[in-house]
Amino acid sequence: MIIDRIHIRGLRAHNDSTVTFDAGVNAIVGPNGVGKTNILEAIHMLCLSRSFLTSKDNVILRRGSSLMEIEGHFTKDAGGSQKVRLAFVPGEGKKLFVGGSPLERMTDLVGRFPVVVFSPDDQRLTAEGPEFRRRFMDNIISQSSPVYLDNLLRYRQVLKQRNELLHASRRARRTPDEMVLESLTRELVMPGAAIIADRMAFIEAFAKHLDDAHQKISEVAEKPGIAYAPFGRAGIPEADIDSEDGSFPKGGITIPNESREQRARREKRVFELYADQLERNRRHEIARGMTLYGPHRHELDLTLDGHPVRRFASQGQHRTYGMALKLAQYDYMQHRREERPLLLLDDVFDNLDPARIEAFLAILGSDAIGQSITTAARREIVHNHLDPSACRTIFVARGGEVLEDETSIEKVPPKATAPREEPASPLADSLTND
């Protein structure tokens, strides 16, 4: 899938901008603070209904503007173009239209226009807390299977209710109504088990993509490892169920060569294990006044030659690993949906050494990647490594003005970049409640 053209009105630096893209490598060049990243944010909003930098639409709205409007024209790999329009009015919320028809729920958009974002924040994937890795998983699986996002939203809503029951009871120094707790526990375990089963199947397939990606960009032969083991390392035996049991599966991702019946049995087993875990820890949860077990707490273990990355990796290893994770995401999504995702790269080259830039641009220019759109402070960053004729260059001047050549860009000294906000999950807010 590629984006041919985007029209942006009332978004941060952009009063009224139109940008046209090529099917291959695109570079958006200009001084810091002129609105290069805003163009990537706008594209991202058309794909996943929100920016990759913030979940607050008011922040993205141009100061003094009463309307934000983004319109993009996409072409699918199989041919056929589709127009996506997003309109945001403060106080009235967002509206999305695909091919002229309004979408009832923002989440219905997810997965239709697959997108992968590289940003300097990717280092946090390996260096910081588990919530970053959960968001990473949730993003990929949601874009790959709409049922996953549905289960995620459902889980999050039950979690809120269950936490409130536990918390309110603790505050009032009484035990929660046993049957209400039981009902909410069951409602939690249903989508929870589907999420866990989907994540397990996803990691099983994803490991190979990560291995390939890491090999492509790392100069040393180190082996990445990835594991998701919410119930310990022993693995999960199948449950004995009648294949007529219609309650399973609720999730959509299967392990390669897994039949629907096997998937149903695996999910049922996860359901039992999760339900049992909550049952055994009920007193503990009541005492603490919150839900302590479930996919909102799970860790995704990343290793390099068997050593936990978070504790042992060097700065350079973190950077390589983060990029490998995103490259593997691209590869996985492309295989799964048979649609090439859009690749957005936000200022990733500015802090990279020339050898890594070289290796990475070679991948962008190769057949492995479809359309990519990257921002860079200086055109040399891209043009020193890539034939300018093989790359469309778009210049952005002060005030968000989009130009086809750079003659009229004022020479302004680069401003210090504003501190980054907490990265928003590009999907529903993360499951994290810790």
Binding site: P146, L149, Q157, Q161, R162, E164, M179, V180, S183
Partner: protein, 203 residues
């Protein structure tokens, strides 16, 4: 647009407290009321007051009615052996409009939601169990249809009730979920479509 009159602003304020009404719509409604003849406005105001003064709740099914018991509970042409459980009286009216249900009803008055401070004791659940446990002069209850919303709160309430009804010899059912009639398959969200596929029926 800002009205300069304080009483108009008060009316806008009142309208915007109604569910689903934003300030913009509230202003439009207020402007409409301003243009209406006084007799129409008096009629509307009286209807609002009458609803609080005259309407009572049926002591059997807790539907809103002018008399207790309500006409549905009183009717002997309706099957008292089947009870359709709904969250609100407006849901009852929706089921009734289908014309396809000839049993009786039970209005819970909401759904279990700790976030809203609503527990089972705030709903007419005890009363429902009592109807099943001791049908009195009426027929034995054979089926309870839980026509609650497919939300987290509705589903939690449904499970809660089904556990309470487990000891009785009564069939407990839920509404099927599927694709809304009249909607285009192409524009049905994939999650609903997946669920509908799973719950497919043979033809």
């Amino acid at each position: 647009m800002q009205f300069s009159s304080e009483s108009v602003e008060t009316l806008v304020e009142q309208f915007s407290r109604l569910p689903g009404i934003g300030r913009k719509t509230a202003r439009r409604l207020a402007a409409f009321v301003l243009k209406q003849p006084k007799s129409d406005v008096v009629e509307m105001a009286e209807a609002l007051i009458a609803v609080k003064e005259k309407v009572i709740f049926c002591s059997t099914c807790f539907n809103v009615a002018d008399h207790d018991p309500c006409p549905v509970c009183l009717s002997d042409r309706r099957d008292g052996g089947v009870i359709c459980v709904v969250e609100e009286a407006s849901d009852l009216m929706a089921v009734e409009r289908t014309g396809g249900f000839s049993g009786k009803y039970h209005v819970l008055g909401g759904a279990i939601s700790p976030l809203d401070g609503i527990g089972p004791e705030d709903l007419k659940i005890k009363e429902l169990i009592a109807r099943v446990a001791a049908p009195g002069d009426g027929p034995v209850v054979r089926e309870v249809i839980l026509a609650v919303n497919p939300s987290v709160e509705g589903d939690t309430t449904a499970y809660y009730i089904s556990q309470l009804l487990a000891p009785f010899e009564v069939q407990v059912t839920r509404l099927a979920r599927g694709i809304p009639i009249g909607s285009d398959l192409e524009f049905t969200d994939e999650a609903t479509l997946t669920r509908a596929l799973e719950a497919r029926v043979s033809v």
